[in-house]
């Protein structure tokens, strides 16, 4: 790794950032759900998986262009997210042991969706073509247009999220709910509506990441679990509930993995990020951006 020429090294760093930006999308959904509902969503990987399949079906069966298929696919995932929250999460919130029961319920949803996908779409891996082919050479670095496009989409999505959270009434309601649920309620915020919509948005972000990565990774019923675990690593690194933490954490993990894979080998990729996770929880359990409490 250290004998690598500088442009190649820089190229790998950029690849790491591209990958990390997708981790950040998945993780920001987890962190939004945690921030508002104080629960861990074990079905998050399945939203990612459904995003991939919807995108594949819209492109291959209906022949839609990616520019149309992406928004449609993430809208569908958004609706599924709303349904999951209403059916499996909403009834448990506020009940005794809800921290634990929501975790188990979303785990059940995850198993259900994963196996439903297996029965509906089969075991065969699906692939979609690149949106744009070709590469560009910048100061000795060779970067594919596809990866640059992914990065651009991630940046746009993050800016849109920032706008939503900071500049809209819904964003204000969401932040108020995250800060103090009871106070938000007193001020007339319908926190249960906020919960449901937040869940939908989180699902849509995971779906967006899937549509972007669909051409690089293949689509299968099992594609969600590794991404969800990666999302967990990222949110723990960044601090659960912190939106900037999810972005910075995602990019750090993306770079660490990319460099780790060149140094060792790709079959150890997950081991690297899980080890990082355990070490963080050991030494700084509240993460980089989280607030240390009690």
């Amino acid at each position: 790794m250290f004998s690598m020429p500088l442009p190649l090294f820089a190229e790998q760093i950029i690849n790491g950032i591209v990958l990390g930006s997708m981790y950040a999308l998945v993780a920001s959904g987890l962190t939004l759900i945690w921030g508002t509902m104080r629960m861990l969503n074990f079905a998050h990987g399945e939203f990612y998986m459904l995003g991939g399949y919807f995108f594949f079906l819209l492109i291959s069966s209906l022949g839609l262009p990616p520019a149309l298929a992406v928004p449609l696919a993430i809208s569908l995932v958004f609706l599924i997210g709303l349904a999951v929250q209403r059916l499996a999460v909403h009834p448990l919130l506020g009940r005794p042991q809800w921290e634990f029961s929501t975790l188990v319920a979303t785990l059940g949803v995850s198993i259900f969706l994963q196996n439903a996908a297996l029965h509906i779409w089969g075991e065969r891996f699906k692939t979609v073509p690149y949106f744009i082919n070709g590469t560009i050479d910048i100061v000795g670095m060779r970067l594919s247009y596809q990866r640059l496009l992914i990065l651009a989409v991630a940046v746009v999505a993050m800016l849109a999220m920032w706008y939503l959270l900071r500049r809209t009434r819904f964003g204000m309601a969401l932040r108020a709910t995250a800060m103090d649920r009871d106070a938000a309620m007193l001020y007339g915020v319908n926190v249960y509506r906020v919960f449901t919509i937040t869940f939908g948005i989180a699902a849509a972000l995971a779906g967006l990441a899937a549509t972007m990565l669909a051409s690089i990774n293949s689509i299968s019923p099992w594609m969600g679990a590794p991404l969800m675990l990666k999302g967990f690593v990222v949110v723990v690194l960044g601090g659960l509930g912190s939106f900037p933490g999810a972005i910075v954490g995602g990019i750090i993990i993306g770079i660490v993995e990319t460099l780790g894979v060149i140094t060792w080998s790709s079959q150890w990729r997950e081991v690297i990020s899980f080890t990082v996770l355990i070490l963080i929880l050991w030494f700084r359990p509240w993460g980089l951006f989280g607030v240390k409490e009690s």
Partner: protein, 333 residues
Amino acid sequence: MTAPENKKPLNNLLILIGIAAVLGVVPLVTQEAYFLHICILALLFGALASSWNLINGYAGIFTFGHQAFFGLGAYGSALMSMKLGLSPWVTMWIAGVMSAALGCLISLPVLRIRSIPHIAIVTLAFAEIVRIVCSNLTEFTRGELGLWGIPPFTSFSLPLIGPVTFDAAHKVAYFYVVVLLWLLIVGITYWILRNRFGFGLRAIRDSQIAAESLGLNLTRYKTMVFALSSMLAGVLGAFYAHYVLILTPSSALGIDIMIQIVAMTLIGGIGRLLGPTIGAFILTFGLEWLRGFGEYRMLIYGVLLVAIVMFLPKGLASMRFGALRRRKSTPSP
């Protein structure tokens, strides 16, 4: 500290002895291999879920990586008996000690965390590391191709009864071994619940702060329960290895095992002495009965998990959903 199992200690003991006696005569009634196989699986998972229940139901620490200890015990015992030529009767316990050591190791980061999601994440990540390492070290474990050629338990001879042989066709001997293992684990749990250690564990579950302020050494209690629970899981894993005689990382270390443990424990009743065993029997026999739906097995598990926490949070052993009393949630661990 009002866990119902303390109110009628004698009743529980009598029930335990009664169940053991009933189980003991099963092979005298039928020796049908298929039926015994299902019983062995139900008892194995009942015992495994009971060992998980020690940490989760009594100490109230929700871990999500129990499959790591089961799998380590399975692979450890299988490899030791294959490569070193030791008897499975010996390697089984060495594997248990190895799992206990691993349990102590993972308890280190867990000791510092109190938030339920963080503990779930760290234990799951740990179990995934063990699974990936196991499937990558192909020169030892043959990875996903599967480790085969594991020796079955060595046969021996008992006075009065005669030779006891362990082979695939005769499951009676295996059945008795798993009954003893189950009895060992439930017995240990029963014994712990009645002594100081068990009261300490439940005090930790109900309120860590209160327990600590009463002078309980949280670190010692938690490390001990982790070591004990993972040791028992390791021994069960070793039994599994010498029973099925073939291991793959996904069958012995996969998250499916953890999901089964959670489902069984919740159905039966978490934090109940016999809850996990009841759940294991219901799920194992129930899913055999639904055999026509075999391929929908995991689909049913998924729905079941949602349905249980939604409609039957206390489990079938009913009474109390004692574990994990609601705490004021804080976003940090």
